[in-house]
Assembly symmetry: C2
Homo-oligomer: 225 residues x 2
DNA sequence: AAAAAATAATAGTATTACTATCTTGTTTGC
DNA sequence: GCAAACAAGATAGTAATACTATTATTTTTT
């Protein structure tokens, strides 16, 4: 399974890119190097020019793959949620009890790198870091409406929907299933971010299981009627 | 009290600005007009040039008040949290029971504009909108570390600390007080945002009390031992 | 009323985010 | 096996952005 994870192709909405980066060596290099640079200098300072120089190519070549750097960030986040869904599907396939499934999902989203996973396309560790500190910028734009309509965030929505479904199985009468699901996903990123930069605002520290324990306690107390 | 709220001065860390915008007519116009423009075209498209033209002045004049547009956003968010703390202090001053206080705080943060408040400095409604859709950008920068150290986010941290304190009063043995507090604040913004752009991911819709009901149910179930 | 200080306007520059055009390589049909 | 068609990549721009430096004007202080 480790081997499988290393090379599995994650499906990303093809409207996000101009040309599929996963269809050529240069395209894959663009993704891999983007993750490196964004992780190092942050998304705001990241430019196609810097990326092109790093790759020994030119800006216009990069533009052939992505219309602009915002789309590239959308691609990375979409890829991440696709990868996470894959992890969730694999990790819960042998479970039947919805309560157990939810617990497992919480464990996975809270700590997606627990098993020291790798992938050929890019550094998962650095991608995870980018998701925590940059991915909200993919949503927070005046163009969200259009991008939602174009299905740019389908992978994220699908992970949400899976959690909603499990919550409904545990307690069909719970009236905040959707709110609970999106809160769980948002809280994971937010608490990771706080633990890095505002440690006084969270109890989640170096202890990786603390976050999962917190979220599990909430769902247990709220969903058992 | 309505009158009082209209003109009360909110304290903002003086390192955020180069010159206090609340100390001159032009400065106040800069704030007021910034809120209008950012609300209309979004923070990314907002520039000091557009602002200057709107005000009938020049870029360099704006730069005298704020080093860059990021600082201006930090100012707006800091002002917002200062204002919210003020609302919380006023709204809970007559309460003694910590459970009641927490409920009131949740009601205020979930729906801060409930009483159709106004302020001379800027449109609170538009500021609230900016907080929901742009304020994370104030945090999500490679410079957070420095900015935290300089106390740029002190107003936000203080609101957090107030909630932590109340939670500790309700249940001193609860080990996730900090995580719970920051989750409450983050969830409010996030759910507002989702209700606007990803309505399928939340149960919070046009019904303004639904969010408060959700958060109250969580705290009640988690904090009562 | 003159000197000092604060404020504003003018005119730049380096960088960014693209676009348009030209050149080279690669495939495809015959 | 080779020309035609097409895709990929390089070169050379441009308009806008985010500032900065310098000069001019107003306001305040003595």
């Amino acid at each position: 399974m480790q081997e499988l994870l290393k090379t599995v192709q994650i499906r990303v909405n093809d409207r996000i890119y101009a040309k599929d980066p996963d269809s050529s060596d240069l395209g894959r290099n663009i993704i891999n190097e983007s993750v490196e640079i964004i992780h190092e200098i942050g998304f705001d300072a990241f430019t196609f020019k810097k990326l092109a120089i790093s790759l020994g190519t030119t800006e216009s070549t990069v533009y052939r793959y992505f219309e602009n750097k915002h789309r590239l960030l959308v691609y990375l986040t979409s890829w991440y949620w696709g990868w996470l869904e894959y992890k969730i599907v694999l990790g819960t396939s042998n479970l039947a009890d919805p309560e157990e499934i939810l617990q497992k999902i919480i464990a996975i989203i809270s700590n997606p790198l627990s098993e020291n996973q790798t992938h050929d396309l890019m550094s998962l560790e650095k991608l995870h870091n980018i998701i925590i500190s940059e991915s909200p910028k993919a949503f927070l734009t005046k163009l969200v409406e259009t991008e939602v309509r174009e299905g740019f965030f389908a992978n994220f929505i699908r992970v949400n929907d899976r959690i909603i479904k499990v919550i409904n199985e545990i307690n069909p009468d719970y009236i905040h299933a959707r709110t609970m699901a999106s809160m769980l996903l948002d809280t994971v990123s937010n608490q990771w971010f706080l633990s890095l930069h505002f440690p006084s605002l969270t109890d989640v520290g170096m202890d990786n299981d603390r976050l999962a324990a917190f979220l599990t306690s909430i769902t247990k107390r709220c969903l058992t009627s």
